[in-house]
């Protein structure tokens, strides 16, 4: 088993955190994992992305050119990464703010109305967790329980009371993926 994932969007949308929580979940599940961020001045407003590789075998390169799975949070990232999903791969995106929808027919395209759900739930900061839920539904690389344990590791203790909210958002994201 190996899943090469790119998560991309604006800085501030929780792209790096989503990757980090996934990485901790992989660790909890005794899998190999690498987390490679696009670090730099793009922390807020600019584009940010992170490559997460989860595997049951040793991982060589933490940097890739093509991906099994893409989670896309804005138009710029969609323009950049749609072509980089391997044939047969999965592209999850939030249609909110997207003007040019993905057009490829050789990959599975999964629109997830995460922004809408976030507003409905009144939990703006759990936006990235809804998309993480959608990812876990499409790619069950790690069980949700491991993700919740991962949350405990990824979040500082003072934020642990928010774990139930995050878990609810993850489950909401799983539901949003239409069969």
């Amino acid at each position: 088993m190996k899943d090469e994932i790119i998560i991309a969007g604006f800085g501030g949308q929780g792209v790096l955190s989503m990757g980090k929580i996934l990485a901790y979940a992989a660790l909890e599940n005794d899998l190999e994992v690498t987390w490679m961020p696009s670090y730099g001045p793009e922390q807020r407003g600019g584009t940010a992305n992170v490559t997460v590789i989860i595997s049951d075998d040793t991982i060589s390169s933490p940097i890739l050119d093509t991906y099994d799975t893409a989670v896309i949070l804005n138009q710029q990232s969609l323009d950049k990464f749609e072509e980089k999903v391997k044939p047969g791969g999965v592209l999850i995106y939030d249609p909110y703010g997207i003007h040019h929808v993905p057009t490829r027919t050789d990959i599975t395209i999964v629109p997830v109305d995460a922004m809408e759900a976030t507003i409905e739930m009144g939990q703006a900061k759990s936006y990235n967790m809804i998309l993480l839920g959608a990812l876990l539904k499409m790619r069950p690389d790690v069980p949700v329980e491991a993700v919740v344990r991962g949350l405990k590791k990824a979040l500082p203790e003072r934020h642990h009371h928010l774990i139930p909210v995050n878990e609810a958002a993850i489950r909401k994201g799983m539901e949003l993926v239409k069969e």
Binding site: L27, T34, P62, I63, D65
Partner: protein
């Protein structure tokens, strides 16, 4: 999951490993992409547990001279920075080498020259291995390619440095500094006591103790040229010993290789992916990953190159290590370089393309350019 397996950045692993080694002092100044070393140390507050000093100096020049001062008293001291900051430290590093002082310097390289970019690079190979400062000196240079090696090379770097009384450097880059992966940290060791330092470092400036009548003087200045030449001869003997004993490298798929890649640090991992892809297509590519950049694994490369049609030297720079690779094989095999600059890291496809362009797709009798 085993409790001792942690997920962290390479920079964080350096900081955690330093505390656990029993490091006496860290002196540094923040710079991307290595700032997490200092940040992690500040967050861990080891001065309250092991007694380790952590100090943010006013500059890199101050940091390296604080390291000089600490090292002169036999303490295990270190600093870390990134390329432009390490340039500022070169005078101090030359002084450390000339004063035969053990110390650990970490360079998490970013793209240069000048202030350059904050993104990964390997363009300080020459500076690290050929003497960035003045004078005939060498640094022991360790090139980690995983977060685990970031942690492991802290103790290796210190141990070698104390064994040979010469500074050592961890030459990492923004990829291995910023990425997170699994790591098992070493066990916590106690810092050495004053008594142990006096016993293990009889050269150190510890004062007139234990019946010693003369103070130890640590200096790099020697105005008598005849004595200075003797000093240099002693340094060179040490370097010969290191070259004899401490060469480290990793070889993979070299037994049946038609083509050889030589790459160090993070890019070696990216090359591994290219090699896996090439082998799926039936092209037999092997790799030598120098772990010590000095002493350089000349013999290993020469032996691995005996039966290959060509060597591709992949570096995140304009071509620096390639000079040592060409020395290793005396140009008996064509050696080509592939790299990106300015903070761009090549991906596995680009490496495979370079291999095809330079060797695989080239007719055997093609004229050399």
């Amino acid at each position: 999951m085993k409790d001792n397996v942690k997920l962290m950045k390479g920079n964080e692993a350096i900081a955690m490993a330093a505390i656990r080694y029993g490091c006496d002092g860290y002196f540094g100044y923040p710079i991307t992409p290595q700032s997490e070393v200092l940040e992690t140390l500040e967050a861990q507050m080891p001065w309250e547990t092991t007694g380790m000093v952590v100090l943010q100096a006013e500059s890199e020049v101050a940091s390296i001279n604080m390291v000089y001062g600490g090292a002169a008293t036999g303490k295990a001291v270190m600093t870390s920075s990134s390329s432009p900051g390490v340039s500022l430290m070169q005078e101090g590093i030359s002084y450390l080498a000339a004063s035969e002082l053990p110390a650990l310097i970490v360079n998490v390289m970013r793209g240069g020259p000048g202030l350059g970019t904050i993104h990964p690079s390997q363009s300080d190979y020459f500076q690290a291995t050929k003497g960035g400062g003045h004078g005939d000196y060498r640094l022991i240079v360790l090139a980690p390619s995983t977060v685990q090696e970031m942690a492991d090379f802290v103790s290796l770097g210190f141990d070698l440095s104390f064994k040979y009384r010469t500074p050592s450097m961890i030459l990492a880059d923004g990829v291995v500094g910023q990425m997170m992966e699994k790591v098992v940290l070493p066990e916590q060791r106690p810092r050495r006591t004053e008594e142990e330092i006096r016993r293990q470092c009889p050269w150190a400036a510890t004062g007139k103790d234990n019946g010693r009548t003369k103070r130890n003087v640590v200096t790099s200045l020697e105005l008598d040229s005849a004595v200075m030449e003797k000093n240099n001869e002693r340094f060179q003997r040490t370097y010969k010993e290191i070259e004899k004993n401490e060469v480290r490298y990793e070889a993979k798929y070299t037994e049946d290789a038609e083509y050889l890649i030589v790459a160090f640090g993070s890019i070696a991992r990216i090359c591994m992916k290219a090699i896996e892809d090439a082998r799926k297509e039936g092209v037999k590519v092997g790799i030598i990953r120098p772990i010590t950049l000095w002493p350089f694994p000349y013999d290993a490369i020469r032996e691995a190159a005996a039966n290959v049609k060509g060597i591709l030297c992949v570096e995140i720079n304009a071509g620096q290590m390639i000079e040592d690779v060409r020395l290793a094989v005396s140009d008996s095999v064509p050696v080509r370089h592939f790299g990106r600059m300015g903070g761009i890291v090549p991906n596995p496809n680009e490496i495979l393309d370079a291999l095809r362009r330079d060797f695989i797709d080239k007719p055997a009798n093609a004229k050399e350019d």
